[in-house]
Symmetry: C2
Subunit: 284 residues, 2 copies
């Protein structure tokens, strides 16, 4: 399963109205003051919308943003109907919630009027086979230590941008990102899993990183359904290199096996295969 955008096939809405521009000023632009989600949409149906909305609302609470559940659901539904009407089989949908406009300076308005910006991009029709194994290197930039924001998908994403610049230049598919203490945390756009001695481990995300919706599904649903268990753990870089298998998850590819990390190569991915079968069943 790959996720290749069809150039030009993008729709954007602001608070439900199709648009191509954002009124200024906007605190999302000014300070990254907001949260977002990326959903996979199949035949006009968003996948796992409740998981995405739950994380978004967790972010709203931490950022003291009002509970926008009702308008988020309404906007999401309208966007997905428009996607269905266009006949797009697959689309990636980004839903951004910004605190909206406000006076100069860091202090938000007392009664913010958050804005919901949805952009949907048509994806090339793809089969449901697992993506080809990914080639990774180690990112130079590390996740910042910030327990107050760890796990959330907020709009402050510069570290991932910097890491993406480098792996793209190197002609690779992704990069392993560490925390400030050299613990393995994630790839740029996904959560990491390593298989060691029959056990699936995934990094603890208490001080940085994003708690992915598919990470949650692996732990709670797909691994148990395949008779496997996942344990959250601190993971060192040697542990990653010595693992029997490595894979990552995100909302667009589901699960993707890792072919290489620097010089280390993996040729089989039995655990990822087994979990992907669960994911695929849920998809169809």
């Amino acid at each position: 399963m790959t996720a290749t955008p069809v150039p030009g096939d993008t729709l954007i809405w602001l608070d439900g109205a199709e648009t191509s521009a954002l009124p200024l000023p906007d605190r999302g632009l000014d300070f990254g003051d907001g949260v977002f989600e990326t959903l996979l949409v199949k035949h006009g149906e968003p996948l796992y919308p409740d998981l995405h909305l739950t994380r978004m609302l967790r972010g709203c609470k931490v950022l003291s943003l009002p509970d926008c559940t009702i308008s988020l659901r309404r906007n999401l539904k309208a966007a997905c109907s428009a996607i269905a009407a266009r006949g797009w089989h697959w689309a990636s949908l980004r839903m951004t919630l910004s605190r909206g406009c406000g006076p100069r300076g860091y202090t938000p308005p007392a009664d913010p009027e958050p804005r919901i910006i949805i952009s949907a991009t048509r994806l090339d029709d793809f089969d449901l086979d697992m993506s080809a194994p990914a080639k990774l290197h180690l990112a130079d930039v590390r996740w910042a230590t910030q327990p107050a924001l760890a796990g959330l998908k907020h709009l402050n994403r510069l570290e991932q941008v910097l890491a993406a610049v480098d792996y793209t230049k190197a002609g690779l598919d992704e990069a392993v990102m560490l925390d400030q203490n050299a613990r393995v945390i994630s790839v740029v756009a996904g959560n990491l899993f390593v298989v060691t001695g029959g056990e699936i481990l995934t990094p603890v995300l208490e001080h940085c990183g994003i708690r992915g919706t598919r990470r949650d599904l692996v732990i709670r649903c797909w691994a148990p359904a395949a008779g496997l268990a996942v344990r959250e753990s601190d993971i060192g870089i040697e542990q990653l290199q010595e693992a029997d298998e490595v894979f990552y998850s995100n909302s667009l590819v589901g699960l993707r096996p890792v072919a290489s990390f620097g010089r280390r190569r993996w040729s089989t991915h039995p655990t990822c295969d087994a979990l992907y079968r669960q994911y695929r069943e849920a998809l169809t």
Copy 2:
């Protein structure tokens, strides 16, 4: 010197053209992928433009953004001419450089076309007296540890937003922000200085925080001109509480003395007074 915006008196330009909206998608909104500066403008003349542009370009280098010096200068000049033409005596001017549009995902386009967004807000005419001493508390949220981005004024500013929410609710003027190791770093919108035993100390900003233009001027110009020296140092919270004097700096107020931090009060600010005289001389 206070900086109170005149409601409604705001002008916004995108790449030199007056506008009220930003074309979407924009990576500044999507990821905080860009940098910004806040300049004080007096009778249509920006103060210390070279210091601001130097920091902005340092940010561009770290973010692998192209060198936009020429267009930044041109846009700044045009905006300041428009401010002068309006007869605004004082204005705050925010200049944002976003990486601009790009395809879905963290990876930036290979040839980005950065956007320059300038917004200018008229400030109420003010005398040049020093601002009234500020009341501070300790912010709950701390700066993230991120040496790769420390010192820069990029668009990922959620920590300061969270701290500003709290001090505003508490009816205060500012908040002291610590790093993850409980060292004093700054206030929300400014750099901190503490005077202890005749010595001016200011926090080391190697792992977080923003290197302010006025911090730079205090260290290099105003303190030496007043026969004083500033030393960068790790500063603990007890050291702040026991200091003889505390003040902070930013581009809009210049320097502002601290009246209180929690229960601790300071009634005189001789060092801040002396430095402010230097600042004021430079202003007039």
